[in-house]
């Protein structure tokens, strides 16, 4: 039933074999009108029924604004639509109710790692958490174990310091001779480091780790994972790997991990963090035993 057309445009998309009195386009437009009226009425009714709203309890704090100096929780009732995420609800609350509501967010698709929050008692990315998957009221707090700057914004400096403490950059120095020639890496090796390279620095793991909470110098799951990403990359020479193991073996390195799996459970990118830390522990023991 397709019609041959050179250039599809808005005007030329009708079917030929339909009732003559009324073009299919007209009919559809009428139906559309009718549908719209119905849906609008439905929406109005639903909104009136109030069970279409979701209650958010959001942590508020601002050291500079007198009424927010004492931390408190604010309630927002956000109209629910199918597919709505916690971030969508926060944006709605900010744009419609209180433009001083402050939280980091950028990509809305779980790659920038800005909006890791403590939602209903667990570290999650607000952008990839569907409201329908949560019990109401939805309690939204800044990440635990980090200083709160304002509302849902926490100080990430310590996290960044730890990430950068593990020398998170490729240090291999021997490159192939030829012009425009890459170093070789086996697909297996690439597969081995694949999960570890997915980290988006959201800090959820660090926030969930109660060892990191107690020991401020502990490198934490994300940084150790970053070190793993390089230590296991076959492109780096052996002496660099040994150097990396030295960093991992320090007192506040891998040994602090108590295999509680909290980090692994909250990681929005499903990185097997605990597994990586454990593997580095074994590597450390192995590389030391070699020299006995």
């Amino acid at each position: 039933m397709s019609t041959e057309q050179d250039e599809p445009t808005a005007e030329t998309t009708t079917d030929a074999d339909e009732a003559p009195a009324q073009t299919p386009g007209d009919r559809r437009r009428e139906e559309k009108q009718a549908r719209m009226q119905v849906t609008e009425r439905e929406r109005a009714e639903a909104a009136a029924a109030a069970d279409e709203t979701v209650q958010l309890k959001v942590f508020r704090f601002d050291p500079e604004v007198p009424e927010k100096e004492e931390p408190r929780f604010d309630d927002f009732h956000v109209p629910y639509v199918q597919g709505m995420t916690v971030l969508d609800a926060l944006i709605y609350a900010r744009d419609e109710f209180d433009s001083s509501l402050t939280f980091r967010h950028s990509c809305r698709q779980a790659v920038c790692g800005s909006d890791a929050l403590f939602i209903n008692g667990s570290q999650r990315l607000a952008c990839k958490t569907q409201l329908s998957a949560l019990d109401a009221p939805v309690r939204v707090e800044p990440l635990p174990h980090q200083d709160v700057v304002k509302d849902l914004v926490v100080d990430m400096e310590h996290f960044y310091d730890q990430m950068e403490a593990v020398e998170p950059y490729m240090q291999s120095e021997e490159f192939p001779e030829g012009e425009l020639e890459e170093q070789r890496q086996s697909p297996e090796n690439r597969e081995k480091i694949k999960m570890s390279t997915r980290c988006i620095w959201c800090g959820a793991c660090m926030s969930s780790c109660n060892i990191a909470a107690g020991d401020n110098e502990y490198l934490g799951p994300a940084a150790i994972n970053k070190a793993y990403r390089f230590a296991m990359d076959e492109r780096e020479e052996d002496d660099i790997k040994e150097h990396r193991m030295r960093i991992m073996e320090q007192e506040h390195g891998v040994w602090r991990c108590q295999t509680q799996f909290s980090c692994t459970e909250v990681c929005p990118k499903d990185i097997p963090l605990t597994e990586h830390i454990q593997e580095l522990k074994r590597e450390a023991v192995k590389s030391n035993l070699k020299f006995w």
């Binding site: 597919g83 990509c107 070789r184």
Partner: protein, 612 residues
């Protein structure tokens, strides 16, 4: 007043900014990056596809250049296109040496895959998250080199001299606002400023871009007197999730996913939009088809169509498209194994931008631009998949190098007005575009340049005053309302389908938004992490950039690449083989044209029918 002084200031820390910073550092310059986000939060991280580079036996930079020129619908400038194709391979190798986890072949070499519009499988990639790996790999290099990063510092304005002719002006630094403390400080650049602030996706209300993609660099450069080039060319992606704009990759259709409308028709075939390619037709064709369906009343909820991959079977889906299943689940609440996914077209990429030459230099001395915010003009009227990432590498590096060395020689492309440029005299604008009323406060009217005394200090002082003004105003309009208005009118009228009256309506609405912006107020009085203020400043940038897009769209009376006009259904090479430029002059936009450079190193690119 605090002034941070460095040789090179890079504004924006996404792919282009990081690459520029590394290049400038390699030149021995003292580099600092100033970014409103921490570098790893940048939107480069969302790029999925890959990096085109002629690396292998049988491929050649000339083929890459040819493909790019053809894809651009002959609106790319040959010098820039050829530079891209020539430099891309070395850039990819550098990335690899820096540790980028590229996908690999059995023999350990970097994998390449075929991409739409390419005559050779030359797209290098790292899984389905090439941008993420690229961004992180380059940030790692920045850490390694100890390059200073001022993160969560929002650059609100350039410090440029106020010579009458923009070409005589000089950029000496930028003004930044620290989110954490509310401090306004100057950043003095001894050698050069590189703008790498990304695209203006937020000019539309449905976009795959991050909320931070507000065209800041473009708007700042524009107000300082640098022309914006080819802004009407906006790429729309046909498959984005309706509620968030999250991108569903072309891979779904590549694997055999089908599109159908509310009546269950496989419209790409049944309504004859693309009888050969069907769902795999190029992005603009599919986007237009979807919107045609919706406009004809065959959309679901009058908004979207369905993308269905259930028939591929659970095994194949979980093997090859697992990430798509997660996206649909996490962002739309849809189980893609059991239901079709709702999709609609969304703004994806801005081909135009700050006019630069192939070294990333703008016509203002000391000001460079690279990445999506810039337009050396490699993408012309339409960007090929896999060409955005090499662009930001190649031109990021060149901009960084030149900014560090202050070396402005040897560019084939000219910037600014020349003998060959021609003015637009008959633009049928419905309202006077540009600044509303400079007397009513300069919030939307400033020209960017500073009159007297130390340029940077003057700019900081003015900016501080402007910010205080916005914070202190008690009653006024909320930026969110203004922004939403602009976004809606752009999406309604300057979208995939453009017709004259619609574009005019958009220009009127933008005018209205400008007027309302005169009364904008920031209700959050705090100096600590005031995102209300940041969004308010961004909104002005969105207004300025949206206006240039609409003006270009109104002026260009032809159908070329991503720019479709209802009244003008063919490409008019006789009349329109030229770039649209919009310059901000004395508070109002001035539209003019310059010819396309089709003279390559070894050949002339003759415009041909763009068919695949």
């Amino acid at each position: 007043m605090t002034v941070h002084e460095h040789d090179v200031i890079v504004v924006g820390a996404g792919g282009a900014g990081l690459r520029a910073a590394i290049a400038a550092h390699e030149e021995g310059a003292d580099v600092a990056m100033v970014s409103k986000l921490h570098p790893v939060r940048s939107h480069t991280g969302a790029a999925e596809g890959g990096i085109n580079a002629a690396l292998r036996e049988g491929d050649d930079w000339e083929l890459h250049a040819y493909d790019t020129m053809k894809g651009s619908d002959y609106l790319g400038d040959a010098a820039a296109v050829e530079t891209l194709a020539q430099d891309a391979p070395q850039e990819v190798i550098d990335l690899e040496h820096w540790g980028m986890p590229f996908s690999r072949e059995e023999d350990g070499t970097v994998s390449q895959r075929p991409f739409g519009g390419l005559s050779f499988a030359r797209t290098t990639y790292a899984g389905a998250e090439t941008g993420h790996h690229m961004l992180h790999t380059m940030y790692e290099q920045v850490v390694k080199r100890g390059i200073q990063v001022y993160d969560e510092w929002y650059v609100t304005r350039l410090a440029t001299t106020d010579h009458d002719e923009p070409a005589d002006r000089e950029c000496t630094g930028v003004v930044g606002y620290e989110l954490r403390t509310g401090e306004v400080a100057g950043f003095k650049a001894r050698n050069g400023v590189v703008l790498a602030t990304g695209g203006p996706g937020q000019a539309f209300d449905h976009t795959t871009n991050a909320v931070s993609c507000t065209g800041d660099g473009q708007a700042m450069a524009y107000r300082a007197g640098v022309p914006l080039e080819d802004m009407e060319f906006v790429q729309f992606h046909p498959t984005t999730l309706p509620s968030t704009g999250v991108l569903i990759s072309e891979g779904v259709r590549g694997e055999g996913g089908i599109l159908y409308n509310s009546e269950g028709e496989r419209f790409m075939f049944e309504h004859g939009y693309a009888n050969n390619e069907g769902e795999l037709a190029s992005r603009d064709v599919v986007s237009r088809a979807e919107l045609t369906e919706v406009n004809a009343g065959r959309g679901v909820e009058d908004e979207y169509v369905y993308l269905d991959m259930r028939h591929l079977g659970e095994e194949r889906i979980s093997d090859r498209l697992e990430n798509i299943v997660h996206l649909a689940e996490d962002f739309e609440g849809v189980n893609a194994y059991e239901e079709p996914m709702p999709v609609k077209p969304g703004q994806h990429y801005e081909m135009g931008g700050i006019e630069t030459n192939e070294n990333g230099a703008t016509l203002i001395d000391g000001l460079y631009a690279a990445g999506e915010c810039a337009c050396a003009s490699v993408h012309g009227a339409n960007r090929l998949g896999g060409n955005a990432l090499p662009e930001l590498l190649v031109f990021g590096a060149r901009a960084g190098r030149h900014a560090a060395a202050s070396d402005r020689a040897d560019a084939k492309l000219e910037t600014g007005r020349t003998d060959e440029s021609e003015p637009e005299e008959n633009l049928d604008a419905p309202v006077e575009p540009g600044a509303v009323d400079a007397a009513g406060g300069d919030t939307a009217a400033d020209g960017g340049a500073v009159a007297s005394g130390d340029v940077l200090e003057g700019a900081v002082a003015q900016e501080r005053q402007r910010i205080e003004g916005m914070l202190e105003r008690d009653d006024g309009v909320n930026h969110a309302d203004i922004r939403a208005e602009v976004q809606q009118t752009m999406t309604e009228n300057v979208n995939v389908f453009r017709e004259k009256e619609g574009i005019k309506k958009a220009l009127r609405d933008i005018r209205e938004a400008r007027k309302r912006y005169q009364e904008v107020a920031v209700s959050d009085p705090s100096r600590t992490y005031n995102t209300d203020l940041i969004h308010t400043i961004e909104t002005r940038n969105i207004i300025d950039v949206a206006e240039t897009i609409a003006l270009g769209a109104l002026a260009r009376t032809e159908f070329r690449g991503a720019h479709w006009r209802a009244e003008h259904q063919e490409r008019k090479d006789d009349e329109w083989l030229k770039h649209t430029l919009v310059s901000w002059e004395e508070g109002r936009p001035d539209l003019w044209y310059k010819p396309v450079d089709l003279q390559g190193e070894n050949k002339v690119y003759e415009p041909k029918e763009r068919s695949y």
